[in-house]
Subunit: 382 residues, 2 copies
């Protein structure tokens, strides 16, 4: 900027979901101006960010228009075509994460190839070209086996746990490109969130436990209860290694299975992640602030926790769409509970918000978060 | 709302300064839609709130247009004419604080009359109609004496410490209506922030010490160091009493002098206040969230602190307007420092942001906050 402006750097976020929305509070504090590319002005982030542009993230022309004047460009989701991200970089725009890193969060087969090559523990896996390939994989590695959409899956969509060749055929009938993974008999699911800046500075948040129902995360316990400190350090080391080897800039969430034989990496995401929402109140630096710092190549913030125990519970849409009429009870019941609403229309099973409780005793804190989440979404007293 | 909306209640804030700006993060979390009445689209809050209306807060027509569709209306500053607030209420709009309460933050003579009537400790004071009145007051209560503009003063403006009749004449030459107060030989300045909802629920934040330079607050120490717990409780009791007796809805900041003989109330503000910026990170419920809850008559949040010591230092504009080039050093130097920029053009002495440090040892935390504030505004290494 040649002349002084009271406004700091401009960060463009492609996509206007709740992750972009929750990036606005730290942007306001840091004086960073956010711009979002939204499908409609009614989207979650578009409601709270003044510089909202309407356009199609699959259209390179729209992306180029959007990118003009941004000091850095980043993403609310992983659906922007890899070649468009390459084209933006070729045009001189600063994009974090870059296409070469992000492809590992877009394409699960490329991710498995790369993680296997750098020695990160993965389940047995294979690319597939036919139902026969898949059943052979099941016969070799055992049933049930897991089929995954190579691209485009999220929140349990695009994953099929197959118990037989019949299940395999059903998955293939969807017509999407599939790959096979051995079913991992895990004890629990963990996640490690790390940040890496273009300078190469890295930080790791504490390892958390993610509690899933029907493939959707419903609860996050931070830090992961009872995890051995050396095992926790090993999980953090794996995540930082992946960030380094893949050249990730911004946040990297590494979802892992904890098994009797150690950690197995399940999925990667390169953006703020549901498993890190607890950091808004639970860490000195929220994941949203950390991502902004990283994509602007600013020094990263402290990932220290602000309480011994933090529990985040997702609000999943129920039958009754009006959350607000249940506001009062929850706020009166627990003056310390923190609510986060995403401004999204309620549909059954959709993530429409989350709640966070902080404290010292896991069972107490977990009960507080669960009570608020269940009451807000169903009106039932849990 | 007859049909369901994913957006919660609408709160209209008259004025678009940094207080409205810092209300947006908790509004985003709570799903509350903010609307601001701004003078220009470049103002601090207008940059970060989508529903910005341009208008004149002194014009009743503009205020009525602004109020349409708001579930509650509140204020970024105290300059809206009292009679306009009465008119809005007469039109059925929900306004917090109401005119009958707010007038005590608008008119210092009315405030002194009321506080005296309810037995709150005040300095000796008097309305004035002439220079002779003022000099008589000085002769009776001692010199120096203090003259204050009855309406419109803030941040040290509208206050004259007079050592002689010559000083008195100078103050009267400004033409504003003045009142007299005895000079209070105080040990330090404290502030108590309380919230009161229309239901009558009240909460008090811990008493803080405010450090002033040239009548401008430069630093806030939370909680006030070394304050006797019984004295702290007495200060909180005074603030809650004022909120109750005056019928305040929303936040009330009570600025007090600590003297050898006890507390003396100096000023009142009925909105989020500079002495409460530390609550953004330093309390379970920030003052901005608390104010939104109070004006919506929602249950109030916990005012518990998140760290033993919190220090806030204001960023006052210096000669060099570009804060952002000094970002990197401050963030690298202290990964735990929290920056808040207001998106305002830098002018010497203007409040353009603040920094907050949290920890356990007062001198360490204070040094961190001071280092960041001094470096950001001057480039000097303090």
């Amino acid at each position: 900027m040649s002349s002084y402006s009271p406004i700091g750097p401009v960060v463009g976020i492609v996509g206007a979901g709740q992750l972009a929305r929750m990036s606005q509070p730290p942007a306001i504090a840091l004086g960073v101006e956010l711009r979002v590319l939204a499908n409609t002005p009614e989207e979650s982030a578009a409601r709270v960010i003044v510089d909202t542009r309407i356009g199609d993230y699959r259209d390179l022309g729209d992306l180029r228009d959007f990118a003009k004047g941004c000091d850095a460009i980043t993403f609310d989701h992983e659906h922007v075509p890899t070649e468009h991200i390459q084209a933006l970089a070729a045009n001189g725009y600063v994009v974090h994460p870059g296409a070469d890193a992000l492809v590992h969060a877009q394409d699960k087969a490329i991710m498995r190839e790369r993680l296997t090559a750098i020695g990160v523990p993965c389940p047995a896996w294979s690319r597939l070209s036919s139902v026969d390939d898949a059943t052979r994989f099941g016969d070799e590695h055992g049933w049930p086996m897991v089929l995954k959409a190579v691209r485009g899956g999220y929140d349990g969509r695009g994953v099929w746990v197959c118990r037989s060749a019949v299940d395999v055929t059903e998955a293939f009938d969807t017509g999407v490109e599939l790959m096979a993974e051995a079913f991992v008999p895990f004890e629990r699911e963990l996640a490690v969130l790390v940040a890496r800046s273009p300078h190469g500075q890295g930080v790791s948040y504490p390892v958390v436990e993610t509690v899933q129902q029907d493939g959707i995360c419903v609860e996050v316990l931070a830090p992961a209860p009872g995890l051995d400190p050396e095992a926790a350090a090993e999980a953090q080391r794996i995540a930082l290694q992946i960030a380094h080897e893949l050249g990730v800039t911004g946040l990297l969430a590494v979802e892992m299975f904890e098994t009797a034989a150690g950690f197995v990496v399940n999925e990667l995401a390169m953006r703020p992640h549901n498993s890190g929402h607890w950091t808004i109140e639970g860490s000195t630096t929220s994941q949203f602030e950390q991502h902004l710092r990283a994509v602007l190549d600013l020094p990263l913030g402290s990932p220290a926790t602000t309480a011994p125990v933090v529990v985040m519970a997702n609000l999943l849409g129920g039958d009754d769409p009006d959350l607000f009429k249940r506001y009062e009870h929850v706020l009166a019941h627990d003056p310390g509970i923190k609510l986060h609403f995403y401004g999204k229309e309620v549909r059954p099973g959709r993530k429409i918000g989350h709640v966070t409780a902080l404290g010292t005793d896991l069972e107490t804190v977990r009960a507080r978060a669960r009570h608020a989440a269940v009451y807000l979404t169903t009106g039932e007293y849990a």
